[in-house]
Amino acid sequence: MITIKGLKKVYPAKHQDVLAVDNLNLEVSKGEIFGVIGYSGAGKSTFIRLLNRLEDPTEGQIYIDGKEISAMGKQQLRKSRQEIGMIFQHFNLLWSRTVRDNIAFPLEIAGISKGKRRARVDELIELVGLKGREDAYPSQLSGGQKQRVGIARALANNPKVLLCDEATSALDPDTTDAILRLLVDINEKLGLTIILITHEMHVIRKICHRVAVMESGRVAEQGDVLDVFLHPQQQVTKRFVEQVMGDKDQEESLHLLENYQNGKVARLHFVGETTNQALISQVSKQFDVAVNILQGKITQTQKGAYGTLFVHMEGSDEEIARAIAFIKTTSVEVEVDADAE
């Protein structure tokens, strides 16, 4: 759906040119939710603006749906932009227009007749859940409602791609979740390809299928969200994973607490689990062991549960050994600390 080859953006400056995006290569498939994460200044904001040429690339090619965006003339580019929706951190609604007229704006630009505009706007208001607020002005809406208007506006011309520029960064956590659910909903209902940039790992975890981590204008790492969570290669990725999963070192310090006289301490890794989420109750039912959860964090991604649990198992040595053998037959990984006895 989207192919990016050797993309580069240089901002000329007096002393030293700023390299905002450097030799970026990406491939995004149709219907995918693709996340780009990075700290501020990593170039992700420039990157997303290059995709619909709000910024012109210095070098490289961008293909969206087989058409080369980077080679288009003005006229052609305007037409193509109508097929690329975009939503913004600060919503960027026209305060002088009502909700209805804001959503109708891209339809006006596309030259849709008045009657058809009205019907389409009603459809979109329904889709984003803003029924009853059609005639409100943006200043009368909450942040979440404003972003819903932004989403409806972006979808008005039935785009193939939706670009999300820090779309939830100005929202509180509850509203963020609601907006993210709406995005997933739209992705599934309309088969829309979504590219979103963010500095928040939990956004990636909740809705993205694949992720690219950006640092100083380059993609430091990319892959399935689960793989990146599980085997972060780069330092910057590890820091983002810690945002969601907590600090690994802190978990290691648990060893100091392992003063248990009996039983064993085991570490269970849930890796994209969808079938073994009830593992703890299974073990305590089937084997004569008491399972005591010491610490841990499990988090849900688009591809199942992911996280680590530290458990203390009490019972006879043989029974514990059998329980652990059983866990090993499941897809949950288990590590037993030898010195815990």
Binding site: N52, L54, L77, R78, K79, S80, R81, Q82, I84, M86, F88, H90, N92, L93, L94, W95, S96, R97, F105, P106, E108, I109, A110, Y137, P138, S139, R153, N157, L163
Partner: protein, 222 residues
């Protein structure tokens, strides 16, 4: 009772003078709005980072605005005498004041328009671009509506300045309340006439201010 307090004030003449003041103010205001918005847009769009970024055009527009704003109004009238004579066919009367009034206040309003346009959220312009809007769509459906309260406040300020200018123009024979106060009041030492004209001008200014504020408020949905 009024005739006792102001023995030299003839109501018919006053009405004519008020009519002339309104005539000059309203016609020149219309001209100023059109010319000012065009110039203001030109200043804004050709500026650095603007939609029509153009150094030379911006320099010319800014130069024109600055020069005409620097000339004191009374001198501008004198300077424009030949032009006015050519255009209107006379240099006396309310009609003859119009070119100087418009040329004197349009650059002032153009700067106010430019300031108003600069305050439009850049994100909204970016959003319109991302939707595939043409430049004229951005101008007429984003920039102007989104800066409307500022444009209207600017019109109010300009209108009030214009009322002042019409009085100045009166001194060299343009008609209106300024003319009346100077020739029928000041020069004949009938100060009651000067006083009545002053009060009337103040009332007219208040009316313009009130209407302008009301409209600007109504338009502002922020």
């Amino acid at each position: 009772m009024l005739s006792e307090l102001f023995p030299n004030v003839k109501m018919e003449d006053i009405w004519t003078a008020i009519g002339e003041t309104f005539y000059m103010t309203l016609i020149s205001l219309a001209g100023t709005i059109v010319l000012g918005i065009l110039l203001g847009l030109l200043l804004f769009l050709t500026a650095k980072g603007g939609l029509w970024q153009n150094k030379i055009l911006n320099f010319l527009a800014a130069g024109l605005v600055n020069i005409f704003r620097a000339i004191p109004f009374i001198i501008l009238i004198l300077l424009l005498f030949p032009f006015t004579d050519f255009l209107i066919g006379t240099i006396r009367g309310p009609k003859a004041a119009l070119p100087a009034l418009i040329i004197g206040s349009a650059p002032f309003y153009a700067r106010l328009v430019e300031i108003g346009l600069k305050e439009v959220d850049k994100g909204v312009v970016e959003a319109a671009k991302a939707m595939g809007a043409k430049t004229h769509t951005i101008i007429f459906k984003v920039l102007i509506p989104e800066s409307m309260p500022a444009l209207v406040s600017g019109i109010t300020v300009t209108a009030i300045a214009l009322i002042g200018y019409t009085a100045v123009a009166g001194v060299i024979g343009a008609g209106g309340l300024g003319d009346f106060a100077y020739f029928y009041g000041f020069q004949r030492h009938d100060f009651d006439v000067v006083f009545v004209c002053t009060v009337l001008i103040v009332i007219i200014v208040f009316i313009f201010q009130f209407i302008g504020d009301y409209i600007a408020n109504k338009l502002d949905k922020r």
